[in-house]
């Protein structure tokens, strides 16, 4: 097997006195689909945000795509170009049309020609099944459509790995499935994915591994069947009990 795409070794992070990440060891290989879950405040969002260094870590090493992330690095943008990120609140650019949102990345930082960028953009809009919305502005779309545009925007950069930071948490219930369907398709196409999510159905359907975090540490890491059927740890059991009882 080739080198892992993401390798976290003994990563620690503090916000002031608060120990946000505790000795995280975590590996993502090409093609892996990993679901990170845990109660709120457990550090899962912080962890995923250190992977493209929107948050800095203080101890340990994070190597992404062969490049080590550290404070003095000059090429952080090179890493970020290859790591797509989808946010809870979509963060589309509201002053640009859907198509412009999708074309901006390839044209501005990859140096792709306009025609080619438009072609790619339309291809991915069709893949998330909203090509008819190309000329609208993000504010005119529903939450689910916006999140699918955000996914397409990341895909246009042709990333090696996609990070999802609670992509369905801000959506109305009836829009969750359209976003999850898109993500499941993406997984079946072989994309490497790290998803922070509470959607256990999604985890069962596509995840190779489930990572359970609590209080800044990885408590349990297992394949989904073992994790859901037979959680090893008391805190995992409690957590699963709480989210599955409804």
């Amino acid at each position: 097997m080739s080198d892992p795409i993401i390798q976290m070794t003994n990563v620690n992070k503090w916000y002031g006195d608060f120990h946000a990440l505790k000795d995280i060891n975590f590996t993502v290989n090409e093609g892996d689909k990993i679901v990170v879950c845990g109660p709120s405040g457990s550090g899962k969002s912080t962890m995923i945000r250190t992977l493209n260094w929107l948050e800095a870590h203080q101890e340990g090493s994070i190597v992404v795509n062969g490049i080590e992330m550290h404070q003095k690095m000059k090429n952080v943008d090179e890493v970020r170009m290859d790591v797509g990120m989808v946010f809870q609140h979509f963060n589309l650019f509201p002053h640009m049309s859907v198509l412009e949102n999708l074309m901006a990345g390839p044209m501005w930082v990859r140096g792709v020609k306009e025609d080619e960028a438009r072609e790619t953009a339309m291809k991915f809009l069709e893949r998330v099944r909203i090509p008819e919305q190309a000329d609208k502005y993000p504010g005119q779309l529903s939450g689910g459509q916006q999140q699918r545009v955000a996914i397409a925007r990341s895909l246009c950069m042709n990333p090696k790995v996609m990070l999802f930071d609670e992509p369905t948490s801000a959506l109305d219930p009836e829009m969750v499935s359209e976003v999850l369907d898109t993500m499941i398709e993406l997984a079946h196409d072989g994309m490497t994915m790290v998803c922070v999510t509470h959607e256990m159905g999604f985890a069962k359907a596509v995840a190779d591994r489930v990572v359970f975090m609590d209080e800044g540490a990885i408590v349990e890491e297992n394949d989904p069947i073992s994790f859901f059927e037979n959680p090893q740890h008391e805190r995992s059991k409690n957590f699963l009990g709480q989210i599955l009882q409804h």
């Binding site: 970020r80 170009m81 990120m85 650019f93 002053h95 901006a104 930082v109 950069m157």
Partner: protein, 323 residues
Amino acid sequence: MLFADTVVADPAVHKPKVMAIMLLVGVIVFSFFGLNDTIFGEFMRPVIGEPTESGLFGNVAIGLVLSMLFTANIVLIGFLPFRYQVLLVWVELLLLFLSFFYSFGLNFEFIRSKIWFMISQGVFTTLYISAVSITLASMVAIVGAVAKLSTNGFAFAIASFYTSFFRGLPLLMQVYLIYLGLPQLGYVIDAVPAGILALTLCYGAYMTEIFRAGIQSINKGQWEASRSMGFGFALTMRRIILPQAMPLIIPPTGNQFIAMLKDSSLVSVIGVWELMFLARTLGNKDFRHMEMLITAAIIYWCLSMCLEVIQSRIERHYRTISH
């Protein structure tokens, strides 16, 4: 418009009690002015006899008539729809102002002989100085705003010192300091560049704060999305943040431009031939100060109104593209 309430109270002008009080107050106020020796007394001669000898009776009679006209006017306007109300009140106030100026006994021949020069020389210089200054001030403001938001101690210190100093000193003093102070350093500066420099630095300081607030108001998520796609700082600022901050920056900047248009009159003290300078000097020789000052005042007002219209157009433009 503020939030339009669904429940509408009866307007005050449709309440007889309120109008009766207004009529009464009007009578007292107008009587108090003692108008029987004015043109109103002449109008009332058939009723009150010789105006100057009518005394209290004459004054109260005139007061009553004026107050009735005033109250009737307000009641009638109260029945009109919004647009016509606005239009009519504007026209009436304008007529009042003009008749106020007219009562000075101005020499219109004199104004006519000077007005073309005031416009070709004065308005041109005023607009030229203001436009150049606001453009330069915007550039200063972007750099200043980025510096004030920077984590670099030097940049922040210089920017905050700059805004503190130039917002803290009277503009008139800055004009003098630059015009008279720079030659002390061995660099003789002309009046027009000195004026532009003073206005640029002063308004750049105010606009630094406007730009800073505009940039800060943009959601952190926009930065995160941009940076996570590998956009650098400058690219993010130019293509993502500033375009979104513009609708917030434009209205106060338009305000600043209107203020600058009028503050440019301060550079008249160093002898720049702009509108204010001409207003003061053209009337001197013939002791026609009022004519020139009033003319200049009206020109300033017209220019400001043009800018207001342009500002609201630009605002509407940004509102439509950003939803």
